[in-house]
């Protein structure tokens, strides 16, 4: 499958990946300022050492968000992606309290629904990787959706 490779040492904190994610998922004309109730499905945070940590969904092998989902909206698909069916989601947000990385988030719009990375399954290219100017996020092929170089699993924020 398409793999996102993240080399966090290259992150400059420009947040282009966040903007690209918002725009890729905007249905209401984000560039025209018409779509304010939308948030990125990724986030650049600071880790324990005060260093930038690009926080992306791992599409985990045993996803805590899916285990917490009481509506059946969140599913680990056969292709390895963890996808939310927003029609089924009732916005209980038990996934939000269960993802140890903070990558399941409430939507910001009026509809109560969770938001997470969908792997840009409908696009040829992942929007976040396409715009990354430093090579922090790059694409490859492997069995995993997201691979962190020098993973520091305790640095979740």
């Amino acid at each position: 499958m398409k793999t996102k490779i993240i080399d966090r040492s290259k992150c400059s904190g420009c947040k282009n990946c966040e903007i690209a994610c918002i725009e890729a998922h905007s249905t209401g004309g984000y560039r025209q300022g018409l779509d304010s109730g939308i948030r990125a499905r990724n986030k650049i945070e600071l880790n324990n050492d005060g260093q930038r940590f690009p926080q992306f969904c791992r599409h985990c092998a045993e996803p805590a968000c899916v285990e917490a989902c009481m509506s059946g909206a969140l599913q680990k698909q056969a292709d390895g992606l963890v996808i939310c069916d927003s029609e089924k989601c009732v916005g209980c947000y038990m996934c939000v309290m269960s993802c140890p990385y903070g990558n399941a988030r409430p939507s910001l719009g009026s509809e109560r629904s969770m938001l997470k990375c969908d792997g840009c399954a409908d696009n040829d290219c992942m929007a976040c990787a396409a715009v990354c100017p430093t090579g922090c996020i790059s694409l490859s092929e492997s069995d995993e959706a997201t691979v962190y170089l020098e993973e520091d699993s305790t640095c979740t924020m």
């Binding site: 904190g13 947040k15 650049i44 945070e45 600071l46 880790n47 324990n48 050492d49 005060g50 930038r52 805590a64 285990e67 917490a68 989902c69 009481m70 509506s71 059946g72 089924k88 009732v90 916005g91 209980c92 947000y93 038990m94 996934c95 939000v96 309290m97 269960s98 993802c99 140890p100 990385y101 903070g102 990558n103 399941a104 988030r105 409430p106 910001l108 109560r112 305790t154 640095c155 979740t156 924020m157």
Partner: protein, 417 residues
């Protein structure tokens, strides 16, 4: 290998899925008193007519076919003989098993109040409960709910929004006493009252007066108040469905079937998972139920894998995680906020997020270790906090610094923009 699963909610179905994942040829029989799969966490939405029974199915529509699970609907299991590896149903049938899973859940408990049962008097635990409430709603004006826990509060909020007059009676000093503490409890009370819910805290229902046709007339409180009521919902807690285990020798406690870290009961080849179980809580170090959906799924999955020959372990078991929608405000409660260690520091921060929402962050910490938290409004980092609390992980320093001092994290985050 024949696996028999008693119970068809989160734990039972998660176990069945896990067994099928581990063993393509195993025979799996799931026996349930229900007539359909439904998510218990959505019953308040069904009762208010916001979701249909079909929408409340948390499994794919073709789940039984794809997993090859034989399902016996509307069937009560009344006994088990561990030595004979046999269970018995209410209709007098018996079924042999190689491995048995007890996932029979719990049921609503009605406190011993004169007149509490009768016409237009419900609990909210099954699909039928929710459907019956929805069916009678057009004919009632005033609904009284006994118990302001998660079920009572979420139902009160829905019914108030649907235009009903709602009385909500709670023994504790504030609503959601297991999920909140005094300051957040006061805010929850304020929210409910602003939505029109008549909230009676530190009050006990001592009687229900009924009309000649057995429908409720009024609720009598311990301070003498009389609350006219057309309909009654009891949401005062649950009891485990363990009566069918009597005489089997399977070790139970008043609050459920005792399981070990492998989800095994005291009897050979018998496992248990979900609301019917008790085991040690990792945060409180006490044997107790952990009656939340994610834990039921996890226990069911671990049980299913172990019934299939694995030795997976439930290492971080806790029910001290709740997420609720309080009239549109998201609230997450983590850790024993209702029973904090007196030595923990308590810190309450109020702030307004970037969208103008008034938020609260209440933290119990022990030096730099987070022990419990309530996130109110902005819950987006709740999973990170939960991980820190449950796995005793130091919160990432900037987050903790931000958590404990308020300003620091914000300014560092802004410096990135």
């Amino acid at each position: 290998m024949h696996h028999v699963i008693v119970g068809g909610s989160a734990a039972g179905t998660a176990a069945a899925s896990a067994i099928r994942e581990a063993d393509n040829s195993a025979r799996i029989t799931l026996i349930t008193t229900d007539s359909a799969f439904f998510s218990r966490c959505q019953l308040h939405l069904l009762a208010a007519g916001k979701r249909s029974a079909e929408q409340a199915n948390f499994l794919p529509a073709d789940w039984a076919a794809t997993t090859g699970v034989e399902i016996l609907w509307n069937t009560e299991v009344t006994g088990v003989n561990p030595a004979a590896h046999t269970i018995y149903t209410a209709t007098g049938e018996s079924l042999k098993y190689d491995r048995l899973l007890i996932a029979s859940g719990s049921r609503s408990w009605a406190p011993p109040i004169p007149g509490i049962t009768g016409e237009l008097s419900f609990s909210l635990r099954t699909l039928e409960d929710a459907e019956q409430i929805f069916a009678v709603l057009p004919f009632v004006q005033t609904v009284s709910i006994i118990g302001a826990g998660l079920v009572g509060v979420e139902l009160a909020a829905e019914l108030a929004q649907a235009g009903k007059k709602v009385n909500l009676v709670e023994l504790a000093a504030y609503p959601l006493p297991l999920q909140l503490e005094a300051a957040t409890g006061a805010r929850a009370a304020e929210l409910l009252r602003s939505a029109g819910v008549q909230l009676y805290c530190e009050r006990k229902v001592v009687g229900v007066q009924r009309q000649e046709n057995d429908t409720p007339e009024s609720l009598l409180l311990d301070d003498g108040q009389n609350l006219p009521s057309d309909m009654l919902v009891t949401a005062a807690g649950v009891r485990p469905n363990i009566e069918w285990l009597e005489g089997s020798g399977i070790k139970t406690e008043p609050r459920g079937v005792l399981i070990n870290e492998f989800a095994m009961t005291s009897a050979p080849d018998i496992y248990a998972a979900g609301d019917v179980t008790v085991m040690e809580d990792v945060l409180l170090r006490t044997v107790m139920p952990s009656p939340i959906w994610p834990t039921a799924i996890h226990q069911g999955r671990i049980a299913g894998l172990n019934m299939s020959g694995s030795a997976e372990s439930l290492t971080r078991n806790t029910g001290y995680r709740s997420s609720l929608n309080l009239l549109g405000t998201s609230v997450v409660s983590l850790g024993p906020v209702n029973n904090p260690d007196p030595g923990w520091n308590k810190e309450l921060q109020a702030f307004t997020d970037s969208r103008g929402q008034e938020c609260l962050k209440l933290l119990y910490h022990d030096e730099d270790t987070l022990r419990a938290a309530i996130l109110w409004g902005d819950i987006s980092a709740a999973g990170v906090y939960a991980d820190a609390i449950i796995n005793r992980r130091p919160l990432p320093e900037p987050a903790l610094a931000g958590a404990l001092s308020g300003a620091k994290f914000g300014s560092e985050e802004r410096s990135l923009l």
